[in-house]
Amino acid sequence: MSYQSDLYQQVILDHNKNPKNFREVEGETHSCDGYNPLCGDKIKIHMRVDDRGLIEDVGFSGSGCAISKASASMMTVNVKGKTLGEARTLFEEFHKMVVGELDAKGGGHHLGRLAIFEGVREYPSRIKCATLAWHTLVCAIDKTGETTIE
């Protein structure tokens, strides 16, 4: 039996096994609980944002599948040091990529290594796994308390 996958690429498997910023942050200013009722995945985003709207530190806690965990891990790496506005733009680009509205191979976006998640579009039932952390990040930015992705 041979197995090859566009979804479970090595980078994703590595982030699942050794997630980055899998922790709370000191002096947290923003947070949100994200929940995917379909699978029961729960992710909480913790952020410290300074007066100018710069994300000084960001981490996540909770439990989920490899895709949601790796996505959360890579997201924290990519939004740390960015402004809230830049983080929101990244969310929008990431979302467009996984639903097939943005070709990561083309230019005009800021996705960088997040393009590894492009394969998710071939697995419609897993798109929410990839976007859970991002929706929760936006929820934390908006300070709405909790979010459920439907």
């Binding site: 039996m1 197995y3 479970y8 699978c39 029961g40 995945d41 989920g64 599948c65 490899a66």
Partner: protein, 410 residues
């Protein structure tokens, strides 16, 4: 070969199910999600096709020949269902859209007779469809909801049940077989105890009726709910069995056409059961297809099916039990052919995605039974659920697939 399986020709059975030759992701389909829904034999597909292309008309309305014949076929399905459950009087069979609606019918209609302080007993192994309607009643009426605990092996605590029963118990609503743990509950004893306490009893038969012979007279249950699509019939049809005198005492649930005697602008008198609970044009095609599904399982033989499914369960338990880091959740001595498990290497959603790439359709998630997940301390499980059309070679293939999962995440 085991004595019990010797006369069971699974390849011949498989030839009756067109979907079983389908390909998924370019691979032959290995379908192991039968607790969610089952495939349809040609006999059912053909019966629906014939009704819709040669015999179709609305039922219980048209006084023209087509309508009368359609009504007869619809009522034949009701009679077949009554016989299948050993229910006796077919007026005790109400067609619904599925087990969920059947359970809601009892909650909304029988539930109207309850008042604050009355008690309802469910268990910790119920599907959300047998949990949420009672929570809503609790919040609306102030009835008290009590929950029978489940042991670490997935067995319902009969001592716990005995302690919950009391003079205020009005209804017990439990599953005959758990859709996650596979546990088969001692329904007859559960019914006896409920009646001793003066309570009515509703049995959720969604996971049992398709797999073991059901005898509602022997059980003596007051209500039984199940779905057609899990017993090889089309979607959109389900059954609520209810003892006639209880049904006759219950108010309507959904109202409209076909469930009345007379309607004036001031008032309405309602039809007797089962019509009282079948408002609107019924799902005639589905009900007639459901009748054909009953004929089909009768032709194979429920007892032969059940014996063969038990051999699949035994084989699956042995083979999956040998997979490294795999923990089976639900180890009751009496189980339906359902194996839920937690694999150390990967989350259930990742497990089923990789299995799907290999052609295996299986469910990973909470199976609409989050209280069961909470009880066993897992966020989700992966579940293999078998039907009499599955083969041991498919279980071997699943085990190989799980090895692949372990390699990927290793």
């Amino acid at each position: 070969m085991d004595k019990k399986t010797a006369p069971f020709d699974v390849d011949k059975i498989r030839a009756d199910f067109p979907m079983l030759s389908a390909k998924v992701n370019g691979k032959p389909l290995v379908y192991l999600d039968n607790a969610a829904t089952t495939h349809k034999p040609l006999a059912v597909i053909e019966r629906v096709r014939r009704f819709e292309s040669e015999q179709y008309a609305t039922v219980r309305r048209g006084s023209y020949a087509l309508g009368e014949r359609a009504t007869e076929m619809f009522e034949e399905a009701r009679k077949k269902t009554a016989d299948f459950l050993n229910a006796g009087d077919p007026r005790q069979i109400i067609f619904t859209s599925g087990a969920t609606q059947s359970l809601n019918l009892v909650a909304h209609s029988f539930g109207k007779s309850l008042k604050a302080g009355d008690e309802i007993i469910i268990s910790n192994m119920e599907h959300h469809a047998n949990t949420v309607p009672w929570q809503i009643l609790r919040d609306e009426l102030g009835v008290v909801l009590r929950v029978i605990p489940v042991g670490d092996d997935g067995v319902l605590s009969m001592e716990g049940y005995a302690k919950l029963l009391g003079p205020k118990t009005r209804l017990v609503s439990v599953t005959a077989a758990s859709n996650v743990l596979g546990t088969v509950n001692p329904v007859k004893e559960i019914v006896r105890m409920a009646h001793s306490a003066g309570a009515k009893i509703l049995v959720d038969g969604a996971q049992s009726v398709p797999h073991v012979r059901t005898d509602v007279k022997d059980w003596d249950c007051d209500f039984l709910a199940f779905s057609g699509h899990k017993i090889y019939a089309p979607t959109g049809v389900g059954v609520l069995f209810g003892k006639y005198e209880i049904l006759d005492s219950m108010p309507p649930y959904v109202t409209g056409g076909d469930m009345i005697n007379t309607v004036t602008l001031e008032r309405t008198t309602f039809a007797k059961p089962p019509q009282r609970f079948e408002a609107g044009t019924p799902a005639a095609s589905q009900v007639i297809g459901f009748g054909a599904a009953i004929d089909y399982v009768n032709s194979v033989g429920m007892d032969k099916m059940a014996a063969y499914e038990q051999t699949l369960l035994d084989y699956g338990t042995r083979v999956l039990g040998g997979v490294k880091g795999l923990r089976i959740i639900g180890n009751a001595p009496h189980k339906a052919a359902i194996i839920s498990f937690w694999l150390e290497a990967a989350h259930p959603h990742d497990v089923v995605t990789i299995l799907d790439d290999l052609g295996i359709s299986m469910r990973g998630g909470h199976h609409c039974a989050q209280p069961v997940m909470q009880r066993f301390g897992v966020p989700a499980t992966t579940r293999a659920s078998f039907s009499f059309y599955n083969k041991t070679s498919e279980i071997d293939f699943l085990a190989e697939g799980l090895q692949k999962v372990i390699e990927v995440f290793g």
